[in-house]
Amino acid sequence: MLLSELVTSLSTDYFKWDCYINGRCCVSATPVFLRRQDYEELVSLARQFDRLIKKTIQMVMENTALRRPFGFSRVEQQALDSDRGRPSRYVSLVARYDFCQTYKGQWKAAEFNTDVPGGHPEAVGLNQLLGREFPEHYNPDHLLAALQQALVGDSLDKTVAVLYATGFSEDLQVAQLIRNYLTKRGIRTLLGSPINLQRRGNHAELFGERIDVIYRYYPADWLSALAYRPRQEFLRICSDLTTQVNPFAQIICQNKKISAFWWKQQNLFSRREQDLIQKHVPRTIGFRRDRQHEYKSRQAELVLKRAHGRMGEQVLLGDCATPEEWAQALADIAAYEPEQWTVQEYFHTRPVLHEDKKMYPCYGVYVIGGEVAGLYTRLSPTPRTAYDALNVATLVV
């Protein structure tokens, strides 16, 4: 498929409107081919992490003392409290776990997107459009079907509200893709922002329509940006009246400090889980002011990550920074918000050749209701995966 045709089809059929960023095309008409063995390893790992994450969330929700190291804001604490003990904490969860492969062939978990994982239009659109050209290869995408199951099961009677930051077309892409899919299957689906949600007696409404399920595509850490009263109302509605996918409890593992938590609290986990952490989660600790000198001398071996960073924002790879940048970052973090940052051991990602260019792949594995539902793969010219990475289809050979 020609790139121009791919871009047009993505925009009109899959609501992917930001194929260009900074004037550069961020989608590729050439898929990445993943060996079946690698795919199966990723599937197995994603399932294991999904179980580990569920267990961790349950643990932290039940023992509030364990929340302390995460440094949650007051609003996040409130959101977590509103989630305690409610049944939807145990509904099917939607997550995407990002993995990179080292030169030794070992998979490392780079990020756990458990609050509002994105990438739906890319993962679905690219795989569907380009997968047709390679019918001999396995297309792992069934993201939207799995999402439907997670939201409403087999029911056609439930009304779904997709809540997102309605001013961002990047988020409308995801919201509209989901609405389009569900609506075509007879499931009433409405779009709005959390503030548009209103309580009417013992049910919730969006623009005057009763809703049964919320798909929250609005990060929990953005709740603090909402005015006090509507925020409280939103929390109450999510707590009392509707099923919410994902529940607020998911922010526990979205927080970049989760890796530090696992490394520090290994005694809370089984031998098998400890093994999973040690092998696949880069060693991580909370930033400490008194160890700045050590961080400085180990620049090439370390990565700084902010607890609430997304899409590669607020991540600094020592290996890719100048000594001046690194020193400045350490000084700024130490001065302003040391408690918000983690220090992680750097691992070297094995690059692949894509259209004759050396690129670093990051494979995002969607897990919905405990099962793998698709892949979202990004290729970057540097080991850091950010918003301007190249989005590619992923087929299994």
Binding site: Y20, G167, S169, Q176, L191, S193, N196, G208, A225, P230
Partner: protein, 350 residues
């Protein structure tokens, strides 16, 4: 009610469900409630060809830059994609304001010269900016580039459907211009912006759908991209006679371009209402007093209503960082439309 809804929606798809009878059940969400007033039966070339462009893909193709145009990456397909959702309710729109804009745009396009090193940014109310885009394509062979980046909604702060209706009104004409080869891949761009996008005049309520948006530097051509296309000057067309500066979201972009050697001038669209005044000014310029050349002669003096403009950093709705609370003015009044401001790319997903 549930059963009734199910019968309507199963297997029929959203458009049909909305169009065929859910209006009484769901008055808040229906294309029938979008504002297509001033709808026309015929389009800008007096035909009913607009009906052929009532699909997202068709309308997008009519308005997309020609193949190999360096401006393709900056054309936003977002609003065009809404057309398939709206379906048969969409109407071509041509308002009295658009009529006035047509006169202004024509006076500008026919009597002002836009040199090869100049890009236009037209930042007018959406329907009027579309009029300017077409007029400049028709008269000056410039390439219109749409930057409309959100969707309509019945409760929308922005009536984005009005812009869509204007795009539809001129779709057949744009298609003809392109097919006749009037626009080449070397055509200079005119960035069409909806000046209402920040909705500054609106008070946002909880029952409003906040479909405002802002443009980021990553949405627009960089100085390197402009320079490689030979662009050295930017002419910013605002609405009012007293337009003094670019809108808040454009301030960092303009400043960055200016720092890298791109010059700016501002002019008001309204100044081009009176053809006689434009012609008289043109005659004065050409007859000598203003007719000069040389490196010290400001390029923008060639334009009847042009004024030089130096973008300077200023406090805007988006200044500072969210941590400092500076950008909250916009976010706090946004009915949840904006969770947080990001300077490179917006959006929330991980």
């Amino acid at each position: 009610m549930k059963a009734h809804r199910k019968i309507l929606t199963v297997g029929l798809g959203l458009n049909l469900a909305w169009v065929t009878g859910c209006q009484s059940d769901y008055p808040a969400l229906s294309p029938a409630h979008l504002d297509f007033s001033d709808g026309r039966v015929t389009d800008s070339i007096g035909s009913s060809l607009w009906k052929d462009f009532r699909q997202s893909r068709k309308l997008l193709e009519a308005w997309s830059p020609v193949p190999d145009s360096p401006w393709t990456p900056f054309a936003k397909p977002t609003l065009f994609s809404a057309l398939d959702e709206i379906g048969s309710k969409v109407q071509p729109i041509y308002t009295p304001a658009a009529q006035a804009a047509e006169v202004q745009a024509r006076n500008f396009a026919r009597h002002e010269r836009v040199p090869n090193n100049t890009m236009l940014i037209v930042d007018l109310p959406g329907e009027e900016t579309v009029v300017w885009g077409v007029a400049l394509a028709r008269e000056c062979k410039l390439q219109p580039v749409a930057t409309f980046n959100n969707w309509p909604h019945q409760r929308g702060i922005l009536k984005a459907e009005r812009v869509l209706g204007a795009l539809l009104y001129y779709a057949a004409e744009m298609d003809k211009l392109k097919k006749a080869g009037a626009l080449s891949s070397a055509a200079r761009p005119v960035l069409m912006m909806d000046s209402n996008r920040l909705g500054l005049a609106k008070t946002v309520k909880d029952t409003d759908f906040d479909n405002r948006y802002y443009l980021l530097e990553s949405d627009l051509p960089s100085s390197a991209q402009l320079k490689s296309a030979g662009i050295e000057h930017i002419l910013y067309v605002g609405s009012n006679q007293d337009v003094q500066e670019e809108q808040d979201d454009l301030n960092p972009y303009f400043k960055a371009l200016h720092d890298s050697g791109i010059d700016f001038a501002i002019l008001s669209a309204q100044a081009y209402t009176d053809k006689g005044a434009v012609l008289a000014a043109k005659e004065r310029r050409e007859s000598g007093y203003y007719h000069r050349s040389g490196s010290h002669f400001p390029w923008w003096l060639l334009y009847y209503a042009g004024r030089g403009h130096t973008p300077i950093p200023r406090p805007t709705l988006f200044s500072g960082t969210p941590a400092q609370g500076a950008s909250r003015r916009f976010i706090r009044t946004s009915a949840g439309g904006f969770g947080g401001y990001h300077g490179i790319q917006s959006g929330s997903g991980g």
